[in-house]
């Protein structure tokens, strides 16, 4: 985890008029904002409430479907998983599975389930419960319109032995990401009562019955979500400093959607923790003693998939020109802080299969110009963009509504691409139509790449034609078959070494053919008040409240 040290540059112009007015009025109001230096960490303090200001309203608690960050953040603290990924070492640790074995052919997984674990409704988390959860994740519940979990294997035979507390999972073929998948936020185990609930009830957070350190005790849609610590909790992953119940009594999650209000609320001491600030704010807050906590999650880096439905990027030379026309270091220097970094590959650093591939897509505008000349984009229009047969070289993209820095990032890339004669046409839409428009027939560059429990399965799902097919390849295109073959090799591997080697080859191909354009090592940034201690993030950048406490004033 990184704590902010360096001074960022201003990312973009802020809403100058309103801020000036606010500043002027604030000055009139006088009085110090009450910012104190960070308190020294001491012995953990038990009790109290931590108010977390999220940028979004939690939407759905349905385990397989919920994907919004704010939903994940609740699921992460209410549910436990069979396996835990230590965010500092990236190694897998026991959690609800106290140990496991994998057969040499990669098809049989045997988990020994921890004894004495209970769900928050008092029911036991035993082998039968684990079996039911795994089957529910794999098959979904079509009668209740519950989807299978897209990262789980498609089929498995699951048997149990209560005496030895063993659950055995037999897969029809190897599935190398399986253990990684079990660490994911969406792989948390729930009680029978949650599985048996109607679809509508499963969407509500209060009906989420897990074995986690917290339980949702109050839910008022859009207003307040209270997580209360379970005093009997005693089954934390080994690497957690706190092996007992959470130090805090409660965590109150309050969605505050306006950035300025969220920040003002934290600064005035009305909140203890927030998510989402502009990178340009990080240094000032660190200087004022706030804890800026960030993590670049396990999974994929922030990247563009160049969609083959758009004719302009069907030419590999144009795709490569885009790849070499982006100066990632300049983007980070100008827009971000040291919590962010230039992408070095398609996978984030430290994850299985990561290796530095910067040389393959290094910033080289001369190379880009040469490629575009060779591709026949030799004319120039009145705005200085390249043309071919009277048509301007235009690459269309949509600002990702789920990424709070996407607009300024894309604008900076737009300026860089203009230097080589490419017109990046940035379009914007709202949440409701983003899925339709960003995946529409004219979008050439699609922002993708998010943290995931296992990088192999995320890459596999993202680019495989039978998966999410982010590059929108025609299934008949030989490249589609090649990508599927390379990614399948990673997923079908029976050892970590083979999986890493296959991931390496798959990334080489995607980068070499420039179907994928690495951009940034993304980061989730949280700011905690000066009296918050021990607050940590999961491997995917989700908040972990279990080890946090507040110093006494």
């Amino acid at each position: 985890m990184k704590h902010l040290l360096t001074r960022p540059r201003r990312a973009a112009a802020l809403a100058a008029g309103s801020l000036l007015l606010v500043s002027a009025l604030s000055a009139c109001a006088g009085s110090d904002p009450g910012i104190k230096p960070a308190a020294a960490a001491g012995a953990p303090v038990h009790g109290g409430n931590l108010t977390y200001l999220d940028a979004e309203i939690p939407i759905s608690a349905q385990v397989q479907e919920s994907g919004y960050w704010q939903d994940r953040a609740i699921l992460w603290n209410v549910l436990d998983r069979l396996v835990y990924r230590n965010p500092e070492t990236n190694k897998l640790e026991p959690w609800l599975a106290e140990k496991w074995t994998v057969s040499p052919d990669g098809r049989t997984y045997e988990f020994v389930i921890r004894d004495g674990v209970t769900y928050s409704d008092g029911s036991p988390l035993d082998v039968e419960s684990v079996k039911r959860n795994l089957e529910w994740q794999i098959k979904g519940d079509p009668d209740n319109a519950i989807s299978p979990n897209p990262i789980f294997p498609k089929a498995a035979t699951i048997t149990t032995d209560a005496a030895s507390r063993t659950v055995t999972v037999e897969l029809p073929k190897p599935y190398a990401p399986f253990l990684g998948v079990l660490t994911n936020w969406s792989s948390g185990l729930v009680a029978d009562k949650t599985i048996d609930a109607s679809r509508e009830d499963q969407l509500k957070f209060k009906n989420l019955i897990g074995s986690g350190a917290f339980v949702v005790t109050e839910e008022t849609y859009g207003k307040k979500y209270v997580l209360s610590a379970r005093k009997e909790y005693a089954w934390a992953p080994p690497s957690w400093k706190n092996q007992g119940a959470a130090y805090l009594d409660t965590v109150t999650i309050v969605p505050v959607q306006e950035d300025a209000v969220r920040l003002g609320t934290l600064k005035s001491g009305q909140g203890d923790l927030l998510r989402y600030i502009q990178p340009s704010e990080e240094q000032a807050l660190a200087d004022q003693g706030f804890h800026v906590v960030a993590r670049s999650g396990v999974g994929l880096v922030n990247q563009w998939a160049l969609r083959q439905v758009a004719p302009v990027v069907q030419d590999v030379d144009v795709r490569r020109a885009i790849q070499h026309g982006i100066d990632r270091d300049a983007l980070v220097d100008n827009l971000y802080t040291e919590n962010w970094g230039a992408a070095q590959s398609l996978l984030s650093p430290g994850t299985l299969g990561f290796s530095d591939k910067t040389a393959q897509f290094a910033y080289d505008p001369d190379e880009s110009e040469k490629l575009l000349d060779e591709a026949g984009w030799t004319g120039t229009d009145d705005d200085g963009y390249r043309t071919k047969d009277g048509k301007t070289l235009t690459v269309e993209t949509y600002v990702d509504v789920f990424d709070n820095t996407a607009r300024v990032l894309f604008q900076a890339i737009q300026a860089q691409l203009k230097e080589i004669g490419i017109h990046l046409d940035i379009k914007e839409t709202d949440y409701s139509s983003y899925g339709t428009k960003a995946y529409g027939p004219t979008t050439a560059a699609l922002r993708t790449g998010w943290p995931g429990g296992d990088p192999a399965v995320t890459l596999w799902n993202t680019y495989r034609v039978e998966g999410w097919n982010s590059a929108s390849l025609d299934p008949k295109d030989p490249a589609a078959a090649q990508i599927t073959k390379l990614l399948n090799a990673a997923v079908d591997a029976t050892s970590e070494e083979d999986e890493a080697a296959a991931l390496d080859k798959a990334q080489d191909y995607l980068i070499d053919q420039a179907y994928a354009i690495p951009l940034l090592n993304d980061s989730q940034v949280y700011v905690a008040g000066t009296d918050v201690q021990g607050f940590d993030l999961s491997d995917g950048g989700l908040p972990e409240y279990h080890n946090a406490w507040k110093t006494e004033d």
Binding site: G30, I59, E200, L203, V254, E258, R447, W450
Partner: protein, 341 residues
């Protein structure tokens, strides 16, 4: 036309308006690009597998022909079943029951702020003895109109919540919850009301009956309060009814800034997520509120000015009921709302 017949007729019209709003919204949502299921399947951060589509479509009846979906939805609505949010699983009626009171209190408080401010500004602009004060007062409606709500809201929060700590920026604090939002919302709608009131008062104060009253020695305060204000406020009353729409629309911004979970926030979230059942219920609710307030306003005209009465429309004109002045009065403008001499 009797008052009872007028009410029946207007109620029928109101129901027609509500049904049209419902129908229009339903089909508009249907033809918009994307739908909640499509969005779930193509969510960039957690796309669902294609095999999830069919059960979801079946569960929410999206597999039925659109007309069948419409009739099913309308039938449920007529029985009071608003359904469940597609996104959150909450019963729509519960969401509305939670959000509506907050927005109604906010809108009412905002309206009070707007009325007090508009009256103060208009009376000052017309009756202040110093010309400079009248001039400044005349500028204020324009200033109110041109001040964006979110800027004002942020400024109030910054000063009175973040700095002075008088109000919390979120959560329930009883009546204090509504102070800053009501001021923000009220100022946003004050401008037009003040402007129309100011013009109405100006015109009324120039009427011959004012000269007569003055000649009879009636105190100026009585003339202003009892006679000019009463006559000059008719156009503002009409505008007031229309202001309800502005208050509800303004609530979206104000509730977001002040972190209130009222109808505005629910609307914003539902539209964003294409949460059809919630959007439909809100449209019907707002339509009903709108037509109800306009009906009440029409009934209030004769109360404020006894010369105005509810009258049947001219025979050859198929138009909604009109109010007219049955007795001959000196020709003058009473606000132009189908008032005939």
């Amino acid at each position: 036309m009797t008052r009872r017949r007028f009410i029946v007729r207007r109620t029928a019209q109101a129901l027609l308006v509500i049904w049209l709003s419902y129908t229009l919204t339903f089909f508009t949502l249907f033809v918009l690009p994307g739908d909640p299921i499509y969005n779930k399947l193509h969510s960039p951060i957690n796309p669902l597998p294609p095999e999830a589509a069919e059960p979801l479509m079946r569960y929410y009846n999206f597999d039925l022909p659109v007309v069948e979906q419409y009739l099913l939805s309308l039938g449920r609505f007529l029985t009071g079943d608003f359904g469940y949010s597609l996104q959150t699983g909450h019963a729509v009626s519960e969401l509305l029951a939670e959000a509506l009171p907050q927005t109604l209190v906010l809108a009412a408080a905002g309206l009070v702020v707007a009325l007090v401010l508009a009256l103060t500004v208009a009376l000052t602009a017309v009756f202040a003895p110093v010309a400079a004060v009248r001039g400044v007062a005349r500028l204020l409606p324009g200033l109110f109109i041109s001040t964006p709500s979110f800027v004002l809201g942020f400024a109030l929060l910054q000063v009175f919540s973040f700095r002075l700590g008088w109000f919390a920026s979120f959560g329930d604090q009883g009546w204090k919850t509504y102070v800053l939002p009501a001021i923000t919302l009220g100022i946003a709608v004050t401008g037009p009301i003040a402007q129309v009131l100011l013009t109405g008062l100006g015109k009324a104060s120039g009427q011959p009956f004012v000269t007569v009253l003055r000649a009879k020695g009636v105190p100026p305060v009585t003339i202003a309060g009892r006679h000019i204000l009463k006559n000059g406020s008719i156009p503002a009353l009409t505008l007031l009814a229309l202001t309800v729409g502005d208050l509800l629309a303004g609530a979206v911004v104000v509730e977001t800034v002040f972190n209130m979970t009222g109808l505005g926030m629910i609307t914003q979230q539902a539209v964003r997520d294409q949460d059809t059942p919630v959007v439909m219920a809100i449209v019907v609710l707002v339509s009903a509120t709108y037509v109800l307030i306009n009906l009440v306003t029409d009934l209030l005209y004769p109360v404020i000015d006894p010369r105005i009465s509810i009258a049947p429309p001219p025979r050859r004109r198929r138009r909604p009921a009109v109010v007219r002045e049955p007795i001959a009065v000196p020709a003058r403008d009473l606000g132009g709302r189908e008032v005939t001499a």
